[in-house]
Symmetry: C2
Subunit: 347 residues, 2 copies
DNA sequence: CGCGGGATTGCACAGCATTGCAACCACGCG
DNA sequence: CGCGTGGTTGCAATGCTGTGCAATCCCGCG
């Protein structure tokens, strides 16, 4: 009546062998007579048996599960990153267990709790925790380490307990500098940087480096910090920075393509400012949609294949290997949202 | 030396009770003295114990795992849908196990195999399989049913073994008709519909209904079918349909916002055609980016909350409940990519 | 024909938690 | 004071698979 999963014992009974034989038939390299294995596989096929990975994990010291903690899965870059990463994991025979840290939009709802998310993943005995969003407090890093679970931080600030987590970073400071230099070369004199209130991430470093580089060029930067990490933040920033035109901002750096696109679109379509002639905009990420002909956003690229490759390396390395810090280079991809450089070519 | 997960036995030893007591302390409603429970919880806290869900699942007839099979996770609508769904599952105490069916871009790589994906999820004893991409062949539906796993099909054609899977459908035919009527009302006479080669999905139904409605209005539709389900397909379609202008196509229906955006952007920015004056474009989905001021795409909306809600209902319903077919209504959201309706208001 | 050795196989236990059952405790009532 | 009762708790079995160890089988060689 009620269908149940077929177990190894069922197969053993049907094939007329012991349960161990069934187990061995499914374990590559185990000692089984070819004829026995064939009989077992045939019985398994007939019954529709497949190994219960959950039970198997009880034995092995590491599971096949990789926990990924993310928010902003709708963000165009993050979703591409998540897509690439989960596909790569799968090709390696690992499985993606997702924890979504997306805030509950209902009023009065509790904010998502990273600690609980990690706990949850530990309950499933994941072999690795990958953090795509949020900052990793020391205690959580330690918690994972204490359970023998590697933690991989992507574009997250390295925790004080640094020796306990793998870190993968694209060059935030370099990217911020690249953006500043490019805007200055375009002749922009009144710069602004737009970021969200999430104070915990690499995005701060991007903004800081941008400001520092501008300062070394004799310019001060208007810093606009507000709201969540989203398109709407860029929209709001553009309205507030550009409306009325009093400040005459002529160059904006969005610490994320999504933010930069919000700002650029609002300037262009809502406020009627010509981009790049009146206003130059530059982003960070190089999300797929930034290349669309509706945007043509000049941006600092973090190469997705490079980022994914580095992440995969960190995940696959043996459990006892020392943690590592992998840096991913960034470069500027020129499209149409920044005015042409004047005068001498940048060094 | 090597950190291991703490087990219930460790906690029992420390708290001076039996392993059963530990288990009961973590089971709501079990019979334990408050004082014993407190002692157990304290020991667990000190040791960093947490229940091993994998082992727990051996007992229960259903696990907490929901398998989601998807491709195109970079698609702006799918990613939003996946984001919403995984967040909703989590709020219900369920966990998302992802299988990514994204095709391996390397030449000579095997195409992703849905059958293997389902097998994989069964190995993890998921309680439900949700299909966001691909079509469900009868045998797979039957396979899941035989293992007592519910299958939920989202915008997938109902399999012949229909009584064995939950189906959630937004009204593809209605949406296709809406699109056709709107373009006709705008005065478009030379219509085209753009879709990908994936022949298996609700997208065919959208296109078919569009063509049928146009035919009943006395118009024939140029049908452009090629490539995968992506932005680039829309780009290629626009080039091929519009370049030279011989065909003078003046209305395009993209079966997906992503496709419609590719077509619209290419027409507007690459071919220099005014949208909506020279060409009207209409999409299907209402992805978040379609509302951006850089696009303002008129589109057939499948309400994401409605779709997510229906999916969640299907997933949460008791295991022995009959399968159901849930329809999600669609409506037209007017933005700026279709010329104003002429003459009489549509009935 | 007897024996050594390699290949195969089954037994039993490990791994982790849940749960039916029975033993146990204390307490209250007759 | 004895017994019934309700609440606790431990034992042992269950759920499913992996694996060390020993038993077994068969073959070949002396």
């Amino acid at each position: 009546m009620e269908p149940r999963f077929v177990t190894a014992a069922d197969v053993a009974r049907r094939a007329g062998v012991s349960r161990s034989a069934v187990s061995r038939a499914f374990t590559p390299g185990a000692s089984v007579a070819p004829e026995t294995r064939a009989r077992v596989l045939e019985a398994a096929e007939a019954l529709g048996y497949r190994v219960n990975r959950l039970a198997r994990t009880l034995h092995r010291d590491r599971s096949d599960l990789v926990g990924i903690i993310g928010a902003n899965l709708g963000n165009p870059y993050i979703s591409a990153q998540f897509d690439a990463l989960s596909a790569a994991l799968q090709a390696e025979g690992l499985q993606t267990l997702l924890v979504n840290l997306r805030p509950d939009p209902r009023p009065g709802a509790e904010p998502p709790d990273l600690g609980r998310a990690v706990e949850r993943l530990l309950e499933y005995r994941v072999r690795t925790v990958v953090l795509l969003s949020g900052a990793a407090p020391d205690e959580l890093v330690r918690l994972c380490a204490a359970n023998g679970v590697r933690m991989v931080l992507i574009n997250r600030p390295a925790p004080a307990a640094g020796a306990l987590a793998d870190v993968i970073d694209s060059d935030a400071a370099g990217g911020g500098r690249l953006a500043a230099r490019r805007l200055i070369a375009a002749g922009c004199r009144r710069l602004a940087v737009v970021l969200s209130e999430s104070r915990t991430s690499a995005k701060l470093a991007r903004a800081d480096a941008f400001c520092a580089e501008a300062a070394s060029g004799g310019l001060t930067v208007r810093r606009w910090t507000q709201g969540p990490n989203s398109y709407e933040t860029g929209v709001a920033a553009a309205r507030s920075l550009l409306e009325g035109g009093a400040a005459r901002i002529d160059g904006i750096f969005g610490v994320t393509d999504e933010i930069a696109l919000g700002a650029m679109n609002t300037a262009r379509h809502e406020l009627g400012l010509a981009v790049p002639h009146r206003l130059s905009v530059i982003g960070f990420d190089d999300a797929p949609i930034s290349a669309w002909s509706s945007h043509r956003l000049t941006t600092v690229r973090q190469s997705l294949p490079a980022l994914t490759g580095a992440t995969l390396e960190a995940i696959l390395c043996p459990a006892d290997a020392a943690v590592s810090h992998r840096a991913v280079a960034v470069d500027l991809v020129e499209r149409g949202s920044v005015a042409p450089a004047r005068g001498s070519a940048p060094g």
